[in-house]
Symmetry: C2
Subunit: 182 residues, 2 copies
Amino acid sequence: MSKSEHTRSALLQSATRQFGEFGYSNASLRQIAGQAGVDVALISRYFGGKLGLFDASLKECLNWPELLDPANDPIETAIEKFTDPTSEDHKFSTTRMIILNADDPIVGERVRTALFDKLINPLEARMGGTHIKERLAMFIAVIVGASITRYSLQVPGMADADAKIHSRQLRHLIDAALSFKC
Amino acid sequence: MSKSEHTRSALLQSATRQFGEFGYSNASLRQIAGQAGVDVALISRYFGGKLGLFDASLKECLNWPELLDPANDPIETAIEKFTDPTSEDHKFSTTRMIILNADDPIVGERVRTALFDKLINPLEARMGGTHIKERLAMFIAVIVGASITRYSLQVPGMADADAKIHSRQLRHLIDAALSFKC
DNA sequence: GCCTCATGTCAACACTTGTTGACAAATGTT
DNA sequence: AACATTTGTCAACAAGTGTTGACATGAGGC
């Protein structure tokens, strides 16, 4: 790993944390660079600017090849992905990165299109049964709602989404979302 | 209504829109004042500053006396409130105001405490049955998740939360949330 | 050694932000 | 009419933002 690649990846990691914690507009380039132990000007050099850095971070966040692997059940894989127990802290999870920037005046649109291109549409294509659009939308609503309720609103009584999906509570809701008919 | 009260309320209304659309840190005082047709400096005069303006806006957003009225069923009232069809646009709804600012580094904490003081705790106190905390948390998750999925992520297939609650889809999920046992 | 290119450092830039204080205009009171 | 109080206007401020260009430092090839 060359020197430049090292600083590039340090910047990318730091950026993902800041963008996921504060959102695009509230994240400061100087703070991102500082956390990466690097000079601010290098962001423009390696990514062309703040927008380029965000794009790179977003692309990395949404790169989930196992979601497209025919060997995996798409919904179960998605559940594991969205409730990833390996992420040390929800503040830096992909779920939050998406939610927090989905309606930013600057990057909102590209977040949504990337979300559809990389996750929602592929997921929909692999689902079976009837009312696919509705069931998928409800599934997303449950995942997103549980995440926000627990981590952003900090409502007690919400199942810990990190403790795999074996929480009966969350599974109960997801089942209700996916079993919708009529 | 005196002149000062008029500009004060114009500022408050404009602020609620901006805070609900862009969030606290992304809302600009000059833009708020401009939309209200008023000079920026008057914000400091009437509200003491940006924080005071936000507090006033938040207080107004969370003032829902009918939620505490013993004559109303708390959950049904909450459903109508959260899926208020009278609000012209979701961008300016109370739900969004809360979600968008719940983890802002500056105002996040006061948003959450106000949310609990004014809404969640009173609601919890009036609920019956078992597993109150869990059922309430899931109810909130469904409301919040549906709102974000539809309006922020713009996922097609999500029931229009504005079309009252008679959407079978959303009602299906809410029932699942509230009927949770064990 | 000398040159070249990659990489990093630093200072400045134009701009926006929230806030403040001096001043003007309007309104009400005696 | 003359004064006092309220209400509004304007310009400036210090601080923070993303971005840029000039310069310094480093490593590898001839």
